[in-house]
């Protein structure tokens, strides 16, 4: 599709401007954006229940156990939030470029390389005070992530390479590089079963904050900052204009290419930071545990939240909870761990299909003037 065609189609799909006669239109529109994802979640739940019934399992048990495994006790809630913390950041890696209409799916690459870069810079300076090390690690992780995803944005802006495929291919390359370093150059010979780099030292690990994962406040702050950036600054406005209609943005003289590269780099920095925090707070070294799929789950969360950074927060907790309940489901119901993936896939399909509801239901549309 050429730029002009893309522009016209997006413009046609954009919400109709509010008629001045309907003062409740903002409320209706807000309710619509809540209603559609909610309807999709309900539909996905129903289809998944039918799936379980067909296998002779009880959906009631499933959801009861999921609730208990995710939010039922302080321990399970901690587990949920520990999973949600990196997801907040990897979802931003999708949501920020999405403001410009870019679909980035290679966040996993930024997570593993961000974690690796953070470990590599920390290894020679383990004698410094821990907070100094964390700052240096954070900068290194974010910079690495920004470079990796920014490269996809650069290729898209300057060469017209499809960013979705480029970012995914780069994620595979990132994982190969990661394995090369972890299993070769920087491998700690003491790590036999699970090849790892040398550790950053126990004294340099990030502690918990009120028993919570330290990535949680970082992720929440990042989401709030991203929200302010998108909705309250001229840069964010330019990005949204570009996402709405590329051609119009170009005609207005917006620096479309620079915005694309910036959004991708910022998103990548978030994902790289997620990798750094996983190293500094959980693993203490870089190993295969970093490639736990946070980058991929982040895609789902960003789409669930319709790329709104504030909505990312509850969605990350929801998906983190579903992930946290996996173990309990496996033990109690004998369901394979892929059950969670099936549920996530169904939710994803229905959420995207629910896009078609926008503008279809009369009650949510602006009323004509009397």
């Amino acid at each position: 599709m050429t730029a002009v065609q893309a522009g016209i189609e997006t413009a046609a799909a954009a919400p109709v401007a509010a008629a001045p006669a309907d003062p409740y239109y903002p409320v209706r529109r807000a309710l619509e954006t809540v209603f559609a994802p909610f309807a999709a979640l309900v539909a996905a739940t129903i289809v998944f229940s039918v799936f379980l019934l067909a296998l002779g399992q009880s959906p009631a048990d499933f959801f009861e156990l999921t609730w208990r495994g995710a939010f039922g006790s302080w321990f399970s809630l901690q587990n949920t939030l520990q999973r949600a913390a990196p997801l907040l950041l990897t979802a931003l890696c999708v949501a920020l470029p999405a403001q410009l209409g870019l679909v980035i799916i290679g966040g996993e690459g930024a997570v593993v390389l961000g974690g690796l870069a953070a470990t590599v810079v920390a290894l020679p300076i383990t004698f410094l005070p821990a907070p100094v090390i964390w700052v240096i690690m954070g900068v290194a992780g974010a910079a690495m992530g920004a470079l990796w995803i920014g490269l996809s944005g650069f290729l898209r802006a300057k060469r017209g390479v499809n960013e979705t495929i480029a970012s995914l291919v780069l994620a595979y390359i990132a994982i190969a590089l990661f394995n090369h370093v972890v299993e070769g150059v920087l491998r700690d010979p003491a790590s036999l079963n699970k090849p790892s780099t040398y550790g950053i030292g126990d004294q340099n690990m990030m502690g918990t904050i009120f028993d919570l994962h330290p990535g949680l406040p970082v992720g929440v702050i990042a989401c709030v900052l991203a929200y302010v950036l998108i909705s309250r600054t001229s840069v964010g406005f330019g990005a949204r204009v570009t996402g709405g209609n590329l051609r119009a943005a170009q005609l207005q003289g917006l620096p479309v290419h620079r915005l694309m590269i910036m959004a991708c780099a910022l998103g990548g920095a978030c994902a790289g930071l997620a990798g750094m925090i996983e190293v500094a707070a959980v693993h203490g070294r870089a190993n295969a545990s970093l490639a736990a799929g946070y980058g991929y789950t982040g895609i789902l969360i960003a789409f669930l939240a319709r790329h709104n950074p504030i909505a990312i927060m509850p969605m990350a907790v929801l998906l983190g909870g579903i992930g946290a309940a996996g173990g309990l489901l496996q033990r109690r119901m004998g369901l394979p761990d892929a059950t969670v993936v099936v549920l996530q896939g169904l939710i994803f399909v229905f959420i995207l299909a629910s896009e078609t509801l926008y503008g279809r239901i009369r009650w949510f549309q602006p009323r004509e003037g009397r």
């Binding site: 599709m1 300057k158 291919v169 761990d337 099936v342 994803f348």
Partner: protein, 308 residues
């Protein structure tokens, strides 16, 4: 060993053998993707189809003792999953790129869910055709063990080329893919054509999955596919939406994929992981070189939401 070969020849033969084997799934997925994209839609879900096809083929072959039934079952499973993608994308305002990612997740989930019991047992494989009977070097013999599925893929490419070039069906698919307006003016059923093209394309991708589990590497596990379904999208761009060019492109990608294992046969293991990145690097380079900024690619269907 009977026919002692020098290292260069060994690597060469291993590369040839490897590229024929590694290229077969690429060939099927790229042909399927080519068909879908010709109708104006992109299907990233073929990655999920590949995994699901591999699982279904393996399970069917194990349960019925017939690998060919497995191949057929994989094609049917692929058509069903592709059909879901096609149906949902026919709804107004649904983004086909994002939907493909959802289908990928869903297909992978279903495959892992039902595939768990089949990780251990071994299923009957699709027998290869020994084209190397004339040689007594064992490397040559094993290199020329060509899977009938590869030949089936070649036939599919030729048939698809003929369908696009000289049949009514092919012309209709191309019109739908090139211009919604033209298709509407001619009264062609746009949604239905795209749905069928997506379903049949995913059926082909499913056969590619069957090759993974029933020929090479020839077993079912959760790490079987590593992005081949998505790389196929880049491959189709490289092949300029031409089914015959897809054959050459697949073999190139296959050769890149065979680089690591081939070097291992002669004992080069340093940079082992880096060689595994070769197909991805090739994909990226191919995209960078073949795509030109700011204008549509030659041969690209007009309704495709790819690139700018």
């Amino acid at each position: 060993m009977a026919g002692e070969l020098n290292p260069v020849a060994t690597v060469g033969i291993a590369m040839l053998a490897g590229s024929l084997r590694v290229s077969t799934p690429f060939l099927f997925v790229s042909l399927g993707e080519c068909l879908t994209e010709k109708a104006g839609r992109i299907n990233l879900g073929n990655e999920g189809v590949l995994v699901l096809g591999a699982m279904v083929a393996y399970a069917t072959s194990y349960l019925t003792d017939s690998p060919w039934l497995g191949v057929i079952a994989a094609a049917v499973a692929g058509m069903l999953l592709g059909g879901i993608h096609g149906l949902v994308c026919n709804l107004a305002r649904v983004n086909d790129v994002a939907m493909g990612i959802a289908i990928m997740l869903f297909g992978t989930g279903i495959a892992f869910f039902f595939g768990k019991p089949y990780v251990q047992p071994s299923a009957p494989q699709v027998p290869s055709i020994p084209f190397g009977f004339w040689s007594d070097a064992p490397q040559v013999r094993s290199a020329l063990e060509v899977s009938p599925l590869f030949i089936l893929g070649l036939i599919a490419a030729v048939v698809m080329h003929w369908v696009f070039r000289s049949t009514r069906v092919g012309l209709r698919i191309r019109i739908v893919g090139d211009s919604n307006d033209a298709a509407r003016a001619l009264g062609l059923p746009i949604g239905q054509t795209r749905l069928l093209a997506t379903a049949v394309g995913s059926g082909l991708a499913g056969i590619g999955g069957a090759f993974l589990s029933l020929s090479y590497p020839g077993s079912w596990n959760e790490g079987l596919s590593s992005g081949q379904g998505l790389m196929a999208v880049a491959l189709v761009v490289f092949a300029r939406w031409n089914p015959l060019a897809c054959v050459g492109a697949s073999i190139l990608f296959g050769a890149a994929g065979a680089l690591g294992p081939s070097l291992q046969t002669v004992g080069i293991t340093s940079g082992y992981y880096l060689f595994y990145a070769a197909p991805y690097v090739v994909t990226l380079l191919v995209l960078i070189i073949t795509v030109s900024p700011g204008r549509a690619l030659r041969g690209m269907p007009g309704e495709l939401s790819l690139g700018q």
